[in-house]
Every structure is written in structure tokens, then in C-alpha cells.
Amino acid sequence: MPLSKNDLDAILLTLELASLTTVLLLIIGTPIALWLARTDSWLKRPVGAVVALPLVLPPTVIGFYLLVSMGPNGFFGQLTQSLGLGTFTFTFTGLVIGSIFYSLPFVVQPLQNAFEAIGRGPLEAAATLRANPWDSFFSVVLPLARPGFITAAILSFAHTIGEFGVVLMIGGNIPGKTQVVSVQIYNHVETMNYAQAHWLAGGMVAFSFIVLLALYGGRNARMRAL
């Protein structure tokens, strides 16, 4: 087996991080996307821009601000300390928080597009049938926006798997806690273990290709279904 125990731990940890981040992001991203799709408020553009920031910012910028703000002297760090939670740098929780910021646009944007595509028609129809907003959300919006949810989940999962700069800045390279695959590849290259670097890096290429293939294949199938 060319992969060490640390490598396997890193793979498991990465999958865990990506899964948890995706679930949380779908929960957090849905109301944001719903609001962005519906609102006429002047806040729509600024909020949309903030959501899209991680698309253009270098991950090191996000990582740096997280390191400073989650640290014991930072705003967020002081808040978590006063709640008795300690600080989140160098923890798995910290990575989840970082990943949520980092992958936010990959969830909100496909969802927003899906919600906008539904339009107001079906919802007004549901309202005339006396569906309350919760009913219409679960029995009209969710089924109609399903392709959007699938796209959002795949993109968020894949993007979090590929996270590097943020983890590097706030992780501390702790095996089993913050040492994810991308960091482990960096470790192997730095310590000149090129064979192991190749195994992990090649695995990432194959994984990413399969994810994108599934995404595009699924998209075509969904198009045909429409």
C-alpha cells in the first residue's frame, strides 16, 4: 500500500469536512438564496457581492482574517472564549467554519438561479390553494429546485475537498484533526516524498474529474427531463 496511515486519515478527514460543510451550507445557503431570488431590496446587490467574495479572494486572505479574528485577541475568538468554547483555530470546528465561508458562493449561486427560474407563478398558485409559506416551500419550491440543490451540493463538496490556503493558515497541520489531503500533498512535496505526493495528487485529479463528469452528466439528464 503506497499510502501511509496519515494519508488515509487525511482522506477520511477531508471527506468528513466536505460532507459536514455541504450539509451545513445547504441549510445556511437556502434562506440566503431564497431571499436573494425574491427581494427587491437595495441590499440585494451588496449581499450578493459579499456572498461572491470568496470566488475572487485568494484563500490566504480568508485564512488570514480567520486566523486573526478566531484567535484569542480577535472579535470572534473573544466571543467564543466568553461562551466557554475556547478558540477555534487549530480545530476541526475551525476548519468547518472556514470552509463554510470558502464554499458559500458555490451553494448560494446555483440555488438562487434555481429559485429565480421557478418564478412567482407556482407560488401564487399554491397560495390560492391556501398553502401556507412552509407548505409551498416544501411541496413546491424544493421539488422544483431539485437540480439546483444537486448542483450546489456537488460543487460545495468538491470545492471543499480542494481547499488548501484556508486550512494552511488556520489548521496547524495536526494529523486526524486538521491535516487534510491538500495539506498532506504539500507536506509530501516539502519533505521530498514525491511517490506519495503522486498517489494523493493523482487521486485528487481522478476524483475531481469524476465529480465534474457526474455533474455535467446529471445536468444533461435533468435538461432532458424538463
Binding site: 484567535g71 484569542p72 496547524g172 497541520n173 516539502e190 519533505t191
Partner: protein
């Protein structure tokens, strides 16, 4: 309107003219040597007229880049094994290797009252995070592990260790307060013979293997007079004074 233009053309001409005699040297420098190198660069450029392009980073990363054709003329490594390996593999000029500095290790805290010049706080263990550089990649990280082993603390602090990818990041974890203390390079917190901030325990030399930092001229710089000039300058008395003022020892 015309006069400034004339002046700038003149200046441009001068730049090109000086370019004809001065050479440029691209040098890859280990992260721990950042501060002294920043002090040496202007002095070297002034003394020799050559131009220095400096990249700071981790030695292992430089090794990978050099083996894959990175255009560096000189490497100032954080260890003595990487330059030797490059020489063995034919990527460096044989016989150009020399020790330019011997690194010192320090246990440092950004809090001015955390350490009292001894290892008491380390032994007491009342901290959440102890920052070190990745021991597999950085010699200062390896030295830190040797110190912990010597004190019999390897197991007790294991769960509290956080690793920076290089010594710069190990220092950043401490300076940002995310780790209460950490093993860093003396050169990062020491200037003109004294501690520049926080509190520290300067680890006695006997507790870790000497961190011999070697430099080597790379294949790319074999025929570059500026590369030779830089190596000569680093061996000279002016550079020695700067290097020692940051807490390094000389061979």
C-alpha cells in the same frame, strides 16, 4: 513638459548603461534568514553594484522547484543536507558549498510576561497550543522536537502541538496569539543582541543538534559573476556582523 521627459530618458539610459556592468543574482533564501537577508541586500547591492532578487520560502519547497528548473543562482538553505543533495545530484556547482550561519533556537511568547528566561512555563504545561515548524520539513522544527525529547515532554505536549509549514508560519501562530508559545528561530525575535518583543527562553546549544545552514551556487549561477560576488560577500566581515546581530553563530 519636455524637460522631465528628457530627464527620464537620461535616467533610463543610465539604467541600461549600469545594466551592462552590473549583474543580477536570483537567490532562494530559507524563511528563517528573512530578517538578516533584508539587511544584507541593500548593503550588498551598494558594495558591489549587482542587483539581488530574493525569494523567501521553505527549503524543501525550493529543492522541488530547483530540481524542476527554477531559475535561482544561489540557495541559502535552512539545513546542510539539501545543498549537499543538490550537489550530489548535479544541480549545484561542486565545491561551492559553505556554512553561512548556524541557527539558534528559542522558545518564544508574544506575551511579555509569559516566559521568564527559563523553561518553567514549558514544563508547567499550562498552555493550549505550542507552535513548532513542521519537523519533517524544517530543521528548526526538528531541533524543537529534540529539545522536547530531551526534557521528556514529547508525550505530554503532543496533543498541544501545532505545526507551521515553515518557521515563518510557526512564528505567526505565536505572534497572532493563537498559540501561547512556540519554538522559533532566534533570528525572528532577536535583533542587535537583544529580544525585540515578547518573552523567551533561549534554548542552550547542547539540547539540539547544531542547525548548520549551508549555501551553494546552483548550476544556473555557475557563470554568473554576481553569484560568486554574493557568496564572497556572505563570507566577508560586513555580512558576518549582520548575521551575528540576529543571534546566529558563525562556523
Amino acid at each position: 513638459m519636455l524637460k522631465p521627459l528628457k530627464h527620464s530618458l537620461l535616467a533610463l539610459g543610465l539604467v541600461f548603461a549600469s545594466g551592462a556592468i552590473a549583474d543580477e543574482v536570483k537567490v532562494a533564501v530559507a524563511a528563517n534568514f528573512t530578517a538578516p537577508m533584508q539587511a544584507i541586500t541593500p548593503a550588498f547591492e551598494k558594495a558591489t553594484g549587482h542587483k539581488l532578487l530574493v525569494s523567501f520560502g521553505a527549503t524543501g519547497q525550493f529543492y522541488a522547484q530547483i530540481r524542476n528548473g527554477a531559475p535561482y543562482d544561489v540557495l541559502l538553505a535552512a539545513d546542510d543536507t539539501t545543498p549537499a543533495r543538490l550537489e550530489r545530484e548535479g544541480a549545484a556547482v561542486p565545491g561551492s558549498r559553505f556554512t553561512y550561519a548556524i541557527g539558534g533556537l528559542v522558545l518564544w511568547s508574544a506575551d511579555a510576561s509569559y516566559l521568564d528566561g527559563t523553561d518553567a512555563a514549558l514544563k508547567a504545561g499550562q498552555f493550549r497550543h505550542l507552535s513548532i515548524a513542521n519537523p519533517k520539513a524544517a530543521p528548526y522544527g526538528l531541533a524543537a522536537m529534540q529539545v522536547l525529547a530531551k526534557q521528556g515532554l514529547s508525550e505530554t505536549v503532543k496533543a498541544k502541538l501545532v505545526e507551521g509549514q515553515n518557521i515563518t508560519q510557526a512564528h505567526q501562530f505565536v505572534s497572532s496569539g493563537n498559540a501561547e508559545l512556540g519554538f522559533v528561530a532566534l533570528s525572528q525575535v532577536y535583533k542587535d543582541g537583544q529580544l525585540s518583543s515578547g518573552s523567551a527562553w533561549i534554548v542552550p546549544d547542547a539540547m539540539y543538534d547544531p542547525i548548520r545552514q549551508d549555501a551553494v551556487i546552483l548550476k544556473q549561477g555557475a557563470n554568473n559573476p554576481a553569484a560568486v560576488a554574493l557568496v564572497e560577500y556572505l563570507k566577508g566581515p560586513e555580512a558576518a556582523k549582520v548575521i551575528e546581530s540576529f543571534g546566529y553563530k558563525l562556523p
